[in-house]
Symmetry: C2
Subunit: 325 residues, 2 copies
């Protein structure tokens, strides 16, 4: 499993290739939340989400032989783009399995980053089965989106930055709120903070109705979501917490926080209006928790990770419309 040495090794491989994303603040958000709110703007990362870190970490650790054969990933969005660009910059061929009904722009972006895109039918086919079959047949290294120690190590580099930035801010941050899907970023940040900022505690945040991690942390065993569709936060909807990530979450994280779609849209609008950043719904749940569930957090200040900004313009327009209310 991933440990702090793996995360620091990943940080060394990522140095000069990923952005150290800024910590943003606004007195308007502080006023709303009743405490200082720090936003880690990971939407400004290459490819528009933290997933580039994990992709770079996994690919940069491959042997020359494995690089020559290429990599494979399945994803409908951010992981696809993160792996595709990281592969391109390493001169490694990438094959990405995407649902045939994924937004045309996401497929086009992934192709633009140089990947071969293969589509599958989300209704009748299993991406895991197809992905593993193609990877085995072609000798490709499969890069799983979260149940993969090197990917978790890459996401953990975000946690190293948070540890340094939170200490430099010296504002009494206690809780670090992280948008949580399969738990790769959440586990990576928690491991980094355990070693480098044990005064900070990670809290996973999920959308209402897709709170598998919150329920799993409550019961102590992995719980599944009743459904997989119907959330505007599609980027962070997974069937259940990861097999590798959950034990770390259980050991290191505080209770999960659950937010509504309406709170997510309002958080996106406030990020637009007060921070001048574009955040997608799945990337805004942590900020929504910081702003609209202040009682759920502790400390004089709180940090929320804005994990991605790849947002459909129609959804963004819905978020902007909340500003008139």
């Amino acid at each position: 499993m991933t440990d702090i040495r793996m995360i620091e090794a990943a940080a060394a491989r990522l140095d000069g290739h990923v952005r150290k994303t800024p910590l943003l603040t606004s007195p308007f958000l502080d006023d709303l939340a009743g405490r200082q709110v720090f936003v880690k703007a990971e939407c400004l990362q290459h490819t528009g989400s933290f997933k580039f870190r994990g992709g770079w970490s996994a690919i940069s650790a491959l042997s020359d032989q494995a690089r020559a054969r290429g990599v494979m990933a399945y994803s409908s969005g951010n992981h696809a783009q993160g792996v595709a660009l990281a592969a391109k910059r390493h001169g490694v061929a990438a094959t990405i399995l995407m649902p045939a009904d994924a937004p045309a722009l996401k497929i086009a972006n992934t192709r633009f980053y140089g990947a071969e895109v293969i589509t599958y039918d989300r209704e009748t086919e299993s991406r895991e089965e197809i992905g593993e079959a193609i990877a085995a047949e072609r000798g490709l290294t499969l890069i799983r989106p979260y149940d993969e120690p090197l990917v978790i190590a890459g996401q953990g580099t975000c946690g190293l930055e948070i540890a340094a930035q939170a200490h430099a801010a010296d504002a009494g941050i206690r809780d670090v709120l992280v948008c949580c899907g399969g738990g790769g970023l959440t586990a990576g940040i928690a491991l980094a903070l355990e070693a480098r900022a044990p005064d900070l505690r990670v809290r996973p945040v999920e959308p209402d109705g897709f709170d598998d991690t919150a329920r799993s942390l409550q019961t102590g065993t992995r719980q599944r979501n009743a459904k997989m569709a119907g959330s505007i936060c599609d980027a962070i909807v997974t069937p259940e917490p990861g097999e590798i990530t959950f034990p770390t979450l259980r050991r290191l994280c505080g209770p999960g926080i659950v937010v509504s779609d309406d709170e997510v849209l309002r958080a996106m609008a406030l990020a637009y209006q007060r921070l001048k950043i574009v955040v997608e719904p799945g990337g805004a749940v942590a900020l929504a928790a910081a702003l609209f569930h202040p009682d759920a957090a502790e400390g004089d200040a709180v940090l929320a990770v804005a994990t991605g900004g790849n947002c459909d313009p129609a959804i963004f327009a819905r978020a902007l419309a909340t500003l008139d209310a």
Copy 2:
């Protein structure tokens, strides 16, 4: 007049109080422009624009007696907010003169930052006359938006960052495109680059129909705009280049570049989609020039300053609508 020593002194006073804004890139924008495009995301500055730099520079240089009396500024938007927050953080009272028909949100923001807002009638009254009368009556220090050496020095600190970031990128940047109103930022950056990065050249960018600076540079004397209203880029529409700023622009800048409103909206949409930042129309003219007038610039790479992000949601929605075309 402002010189490099004044800019470096301002940088020392600003250190730890302003954000060092990131230089962002996207392979999609490079592909569109035909060369690498670097975007200095000054919209991520406190108060959402570079104006906070000039406000901080001017207020931090005041004597204790002047601080005790307070400061005055006239502005319909970004300069008002920049001065108001800088004053608040210095514990200095700020009085801001704003047009009575300014957007309610801008007036509310300026008040939130602790300033006393006085309104005037844009049609029948002169803000310069009223501002100077109130300042004289109350003993306030007037902070002019661009014809003020300390303000130019503050904006010049953005140029010091550009010099360091452009050299670190080592990508063959030649032209630095700057959104230009009265010329405070343009002059400040040009002075900083003259001393710290003489291989870079500033090019002022303006919207079509409000190209007073481009025409002034062409003729060698200050030219006025035929009109003051009717541009979506209201933040950078001024009657003519500044009296103090223009000689610096004439000495140091390359020819001006003029862009259309449609190009501005498309640049805002691409900044949303590819960089995940919110840029207002007046803050997007330089990026529009980099993307849609590539023949106007020289070098293997170009740098555009995204000067502000305080954008009315209705205008932002118009920009997003260009993505479907």
